[in-house]
């Protein structure tokens, strides 16, 4: 983690209440897929807690990272109003990453839901760089929430599924898993807890990684705000430091 002032260089709405923002900094090359930024919102004491947002893309050339966030409350509301050219105080490169380099694999299945989709994009790109074949299943509430379909399609097969069937498949990510029987060596999943539970149950025993969320304090492992029980029944993990990426089956969902 490094603390950096980053400049907002681009900002656009890519789906309903969903903003893509590009931030430029000075040292970004160490950032890996699955990690997040812990962003300070506002100045003074207007927000006493930073907001964790996944890193959706990294451009080493331009020294930029991309984040994609949904406006759901005051913090993300203010974040979307930060104007281009202003700077944001971020803790960059927090948490663990999907172990792209350490894994032996040919075929990856990426399963994302809603605002769990963004980190999978950077992951997909890094996997492709390694020559891994990537298939993605991306679940959204409704047609208007869908984003990054083209971007994922450019990297491999991509199935969109919506809760209300207004776009792509009708149902949830498991609907697609069931029907398509996509072969994979590892799966990688990020999304709401309900989805992660369903996916983990469905793919139990298969090797994979999941990424989870919790309300955070420090974002660096010091305050014990963001714990999740470990599967062994005794221990626990800190999502901000031991996670947000965990091997499937390591923590209790």
């Amino acid at each position: 983690m490094i603390n950096q002032m980053m400049t907002v260089v681009q900002k656009r709405t890519i789906a309903k209440d969903t903003v893509e923002m590009v931030l430029q900094g000075s040292t970004i090359s160490f950032v890996e897929p699955g990690q997040f930024v812990h962003i300070r919102i506002g100045t003074g004491f207007s927000h006493m807690l930073r907001r964790p947002i996944s890193i959706a893309n990294v451009d080493g050339q331009e020294q930029t990272i991309t984040v994609i966030f949904k406006v759901i409350g005051q913090g993300t509301e203010e974040l979307q109003n930060v104007s281009i050219g202003s700077s944001l105080d971020v803790l960059l490169g927090c948490g663990t990453s999907y172990p792209v380099q350490g894994l032996e694999l040919r075929r990856a299945l990426l399963i994302g839901g809603g605002i769990g989709v963004p980190p999978l994009y950077y992951l997909a790109k890094e996997l492709r760089k390694k020559g891994v074949q990537v298939t993605s299943i991306l679940g959204f509430q409704s047609k208007e929430n869908v984003f990054y379909e083209e971007e994922f399609k450019n990297l491999g097969a991509c199935h969109i599924v919506t809760d209300d069937g207004s776009y792509g498949w009708h149902g949830n990510v498991n609907t697609v898993i069931d029907s398509e029987q996509i072969p994979f060596d590892y799966f990688f999943s990020c999304g709401p807890l309900g989805m992660l539970r369903a996916v983990s149950t469905k793919l139990i025993g298969q090797p994979g990684y999941i990424s989870i969320e919790e309300r955070m304090g420090c974002g660096i492992g010091a305050c014990y705000a963001c714990v999740v029980p470990a599967k062994d029944g005794k221990g626990f993990r800190k999502i901000c430091k031991d996670g947000p990426v965990f091997p499937a089956g390591e923590v209790v969902l």
């Binding site: 603390n3 309300r215 420090c218 010091a222 705000a225 963001c226």
Partner: protein, 313 residues
């Protein structure tokens, strides 16, 4: 040269600024980002006899100029702390103050005596004010008789290690508790812990924290902390580690003027992980700006006729 060093209960600090308990873990994480030798001291996360998982999540919530937390004293237990956590901190020169928690007088005594026996810990902070656990904790801190009893029992096992008692602000008369623990042998006071609060999540219509209530900290509570320290300072002579909403060197001076001998910084670490070294760096100029050449000169100067601090050490 502005003199930042001061001493509390026989402990010499190179400056009066330390991270508050629970907001700095056992130092490892912040130790990755800056040299912990810069700190006046380090107060580590609460220790209980056995490992505790703490409360369900969500455990934190943001409020106006503050936050609520209901961690619930999660920690690996005193034995694991002594064996796995303290060695790292011992590699620094900075004094370590261990926060002692428990549900019964026996547990407090057990934990305190285990910690006092190690050479690793320079002082103890008796946490009789945690609002986030069902048993123990805050009830010891709201009743002067219970507070006095637990202080006395713990003091017996502390040996040479000075004992600070951490007071709860959730009381009608904090000076009464302060006087009771001073009489029971406390070497110093830590104040204030968090105020019990709640926030309700409108979409779910339920308290946002899984524990329902949590402890309010941050700048929102600073005026309450300053008032309580000012009040207690007039009634006890033992040193006070002041805390509650400190985010700047100006705040540190305000606490010193109110009568704190040193200060702890909690919530502000989350907003800015480098806040402690930044405050320490800014402190000499702020002291100088307001006419002080040392930390000691400022202590208690907010009191009429100048507060006479009688050190026991």
């Amino acid at each position: 040269m502005i003199e930042l060093s001061t001493s509390i209960a026989g402990l010499t600090l190179k400056n009066p600024v330390m991270p508050a308990s629970g907001c700095f873990g056992f130092g490892k994480e912040y130790g990755q980002y800056y040299d912990l030798n810069q700190l006046g001291a380090i107060i580590i996360k609460a220790a209980t006899k056995d490992a505790r998982y703490g409360n369900q999540t969500p455990r934190v919530a943001e409020t106006a100029s503050g936050m609520l937390n209901a961690i619930g004293l999660q920690n690996p237990g005193v034995e694991a702390i002594v064996e796995q956590e303290l060695p790292f901190l011992q590699s620094y020169e900075t004094p370590i103050i261990a926060n002692v928690a428990g549900s019964t007088v026996e547990e407090y005594v057990y934990v305190a005596s285990r910690l006092a026996k190690t050479k690793a810990v320079q002082a103890l902070e008796l946490n009789i004010s945690c609002p986030n656990v069902k048993e123990g904790g805050v009830q010891f801190g709201t009743d002067p008789v219970l507070a006095s009893n637990v202080t006395e029992s713990v003091k017996e096992v502390c040996g040479d290690v000075p004992l600070f008692v951490k007071l709860s602000p959730n009381v009608s008369d904090i000076a009464e508790i302060a006087k009771a623990v001073e009489a029971a042998g406390a070497d110093g006071l830590s104040m204030i812990n968090t105020l019990t609060g709640m926030t309700i999540h409108l979409p779910s219509k339920k308290p946002l924290l899984a524990n329902k209530t949590g402890g309010l900290s941050g700048p929102a509570i600073k005026p309450i902390a300053v008032r309580m320290i000012y009040e207690v300072r007039q009634q006890v002579t033992i040193p006070i580690i002041g805390m509650g909403g400190i985010t700047s060197a100006e705040d540190v001076l305000e606490f010193l003027l109110a009568g704190a001998n040193a200060v702890a910084v909690g919530t502000a670490n989350f907003l800015d992980p480098f806040v402690c070294p930044k405050i320490i760096e800014a402190l000499p100029d702020v002291l100088h700006e307001f006419g002080f050449e040392s930390v000691d000169q400022a202590i208690g100067k907010g009191h009429e006729r100048g507060y006479e601090y009688i050190s026991r050490t």
